[in-house]
């Protein structure tokens, strides 16, 4: 099977005044289609920087990034915009929803920029995506009328609406209680079961155990790359949680 994501010696250096911050120092990473990768590492280890590069939101300082057999460096700005629109769904660490804009309109946004107009009925697709993350009853709410967890779920719905082959999520459960976290993870597991490649960043080992593979980062380098043994099933965990609540 050919890899969907392949990086060779990827580096990213930020110039802050006179000093250079080496956020990534040579990442070699290969991810097969249908994989479910959890990226772990302490704060500042370069997880978000890596995700932004993989999501074609940022350009590397050096190194090579091959996405679906295409070298991203050689693509034009517009082609990269197209990739962001069609192939990748990105969930930001800080949500990045349009303020004063309803959940529905936020989720519809990627469809608006799809030139081929793959999805005819924008509203219907957006409602389905919101339904999937359990927000069907908050369509007309704006971000400031939603809780942090609900905003996170709107951001996830927006990443799903274009039916991308890859979903990237930067700490999707960062601000959520454990029950909501499990709900979110069940959405990702469900997607993964449908064949979507999922990559997510997390601090929590519990969350990482829902993935198939864990990649550890430290100081901009990969220090660990292991398969998950004893993988958790979010659907089962949810059911168990439900039972416990009934007993209480």
């Amino acid at each position: 099977m050919t890899a969907v994501i392949e990086t060779h010696g990827l580096t990213r250096t930020f110039e802050v005044g006179d000093i250079s911050v080496h956020a990534l120092r040579g990442i070699n990473l290969t991810i097969e289609p249908g994989d479910f990768v959890a990226i772990m590492g302490s704060s500042g280890s370069g997880k978000s920087t890596l995700m932004n590069l993989v999501g074609c939101l940022d350009t590397p300082t050096s190194g090579e990034y091959v996405l679906d057999g295409e070298r991203v460096e050689s693509l034009s700005k517009n082609q990269r915009a197209m990739i962001r629109n069609r192939k990748i769904g990105f969930v930001f660490q800080g949500f990045n929803l349009l303020s004063r804009t309803t959940a529905l309109e936020n989720v519809e946004l990627p469809l608006f920029y799809d030139r081929q107009n793959h999805v005819r009925n924008h509203r219907q697709a957006a409602v389905e995506a919101l339904n999937r993350v359990g927000l069907a009853d908050r369509l007309e709410h704006t971000p400031n009328q939603l809780s942090g967890g609900q905003q996170q779920r709107v951001a996830i719905a927006r990443a799903l609406v274009n039916r991308p082959a890859i979903v990237l999520a930067d700490e999707p459960t960062g601000n959520l209680d454990s029950r909501t976290s499990v709900e979110i993870m069940s959405v990702f597991q469900e997607l993964n079961a449908e064949g979507v490649t999922v990559i997510l960043v997390t601090h929590e080992a519990d969350v990482a155990n829902y993935a198939k593979r864990i990649v550890g980062l430290r100081d901009g380098r990969i220090v660990r790359d292991v398969a998950v043994t004893g993988r958790h099933d979010a659907a089962k965990d949810l059911a168990a949680l439900g039972q416990r609540e009934e007993l209480d």
Partner: protein, 409 residues
């Protein structure tokens, strides 16, 4: 391609979403456009008023006065001054083809006694052609005729002001008045003309046959003379050729030889009008520039609001880019938004100024006129301001990597 209707819907949504920002942006345009249109309308209105006033003096009017024309305020040559005679008038009537009315004007004036009291006014001695040249009409009675002129009859036509002063409660026609103690019979009253552009009462006048004024009022035959000749060109396009023709005839009649300076000056109404129009044009320009400054201030206001919202908008642009918008998508969208904003602001400004102009017309003596030119110009300018200041920051943001745009503080 993103469809136009989607684009328009998205930008109107974005405008409505940020009502305060949109309102403040448009306000600059509304006030700027409104002010420019009203100011220029006032200027244009007074210009038209003055033109109408001058036209009411008589269209295609040509004035011939004795003496050569002044150059730089210095009268040229010696002895270049000759009084007009009735022979000059006859020569013009006989030979001129581009002139369809010639009348002498003999100026006199003084105390008029009659009816209710007395009144001090000007008396002009003219021939019947004068009425047509100067567009006079009678409100009662009738004009005098060539016969009256030949016979030096002591008949007079009263201007409205004179008639009102001397005969406030009766028709003056048939009444006798005394001009400088010489009795005249009133045969008609002139229709009111109102004031000239310079504020002179045109109705404070008495018209009488030129001969009567010259020989009976002014008396002394040796010094009394025709002060001025009034004529009228056949059409406004022929004014210049008529002027030239009159010059030739008068030179011949005055027996001037080649190389000798004219001893008279022909002036056209067009020249007089030009001077007056230039004055009002300057005024229009002045008013217009004051208003243009307000439009500029409005533009700066727009820029301020746009700059303040740039951080917010840059994040918005980052979000749009991150879900797959192209640079051009973002630009088109911002452009659409700016155009929708400034166009609606412009339309409101135009409507507002139309209302103000209507109000001024109704409740003040100003008669402003809105010309299409100024509407188009101020509208385009304001649209440009809105687009430029709205579009420029967007262009900068759209050129960024999405992650840089999102991080922008």
């Amino acid at each position: 391609m993103i469809s136009i209707t989607r684009l328009l819907r998205a930008s109107s949504r974005s405008i409505l979403r940020n009502r305060m920002r949109s309102l403040l942006t448009s306000l600059g345009i509304i006030i700027g456009v409104g002010a420019v249109i009203v100011m220029v309308a006032i200027g244009e209105g007074s210009q038209a008023q003055i033109e109408a006033n001058i036209t009411s003096l008589g269209t295609n009017l040509l004035l011939v006065i004795p003496g050569s024309s002044n150059t730089g305020g210095v009268r040229q040559g010696g002895g270049s001054y000759k009084q007009f005679t009735f022979d000059d008038i006859e020569a013009l009537k006989r030979e001129a083809t581009l002139v369809d009315g010639v009348s002498p004007v003999v100026r006199s004036g003084g105390q008029i006694i009659g009816g209710a009291g007395n009144w001090f006014t000007s008396v002009y001695g003219v021939s019947p052609e004068y009425f047509k040249i100067r567009s006079w009409e009678v409100s009662s009675g009738e004009f005098f005729t060539d016969k009256d002129v030949t016979a030096r009859r002591k008949v007079a036509l009263l201007g409205k002001t004179v008639a009102d002063q001397l005969f406030p409660n009766q028709d003056p026609v048939g009444q006798n008045i005394r001009i400088r103690n010489i009795p005249f019979t009133v045969i008609g009253v002139l229709k009111a003309k109102g004031q000239t552009g310079m504020g002179q009462d045109q109705d404070d006048v008495i018209l009488a046959p030129a001969t009567s004024v010259l020989y009976r009022l002014k008396g002394d035959r040796r010094t009394a003379s025709i002060d001025m000749i009034n004529a009228s060109a056949v059409s406004s396009t022929q004014v210049d050729s008529a002027t030239a023709e009159m010059r030739t005839i008068l030179r011949k009649s005055h027996k001037l030889i080649e190389g000798q300076d004219d001893d008279f000056t022909v002036r056209s109404q067009a020249e007089i009008m030009q001077t007056a129009t230039e004055t009002t044009k300057t005024m229009t320009l002045l008013l217009g520039s004051i208003a243009a400054v307000s439009l500029l201030v409005g533009g700066i206001g727009i820029m301020n609001i746009m700059l303040v919202s740039v951080t917010e908008r840059t994040r918005e642009i980052g979000i749009r880019l991150s879900v797959g918008a192209r640079e051009s998508d973002v630009l088109i969208q911002f452009l659409t938004e700016a155009v929708v904003l400034s166009v609606s602001g412009g339309i409101i400004g135009i409507t507002l100024s139309a209302a103000v102009v209507a109000g001024l017309n109704k409740w003040t003596t100003l008669q402003p006129i809105i010309t299409p030119n100024i509407v188009v110009v101020s509208f385009l300018f304001s649209a440009f301001v809105g687009i430029f200041f709205g579009f420029y920051p967007a262009r900068k943001a759209a050129a960024l990597d999405p992650i840089d745009a999102l991080r922008h503080e």
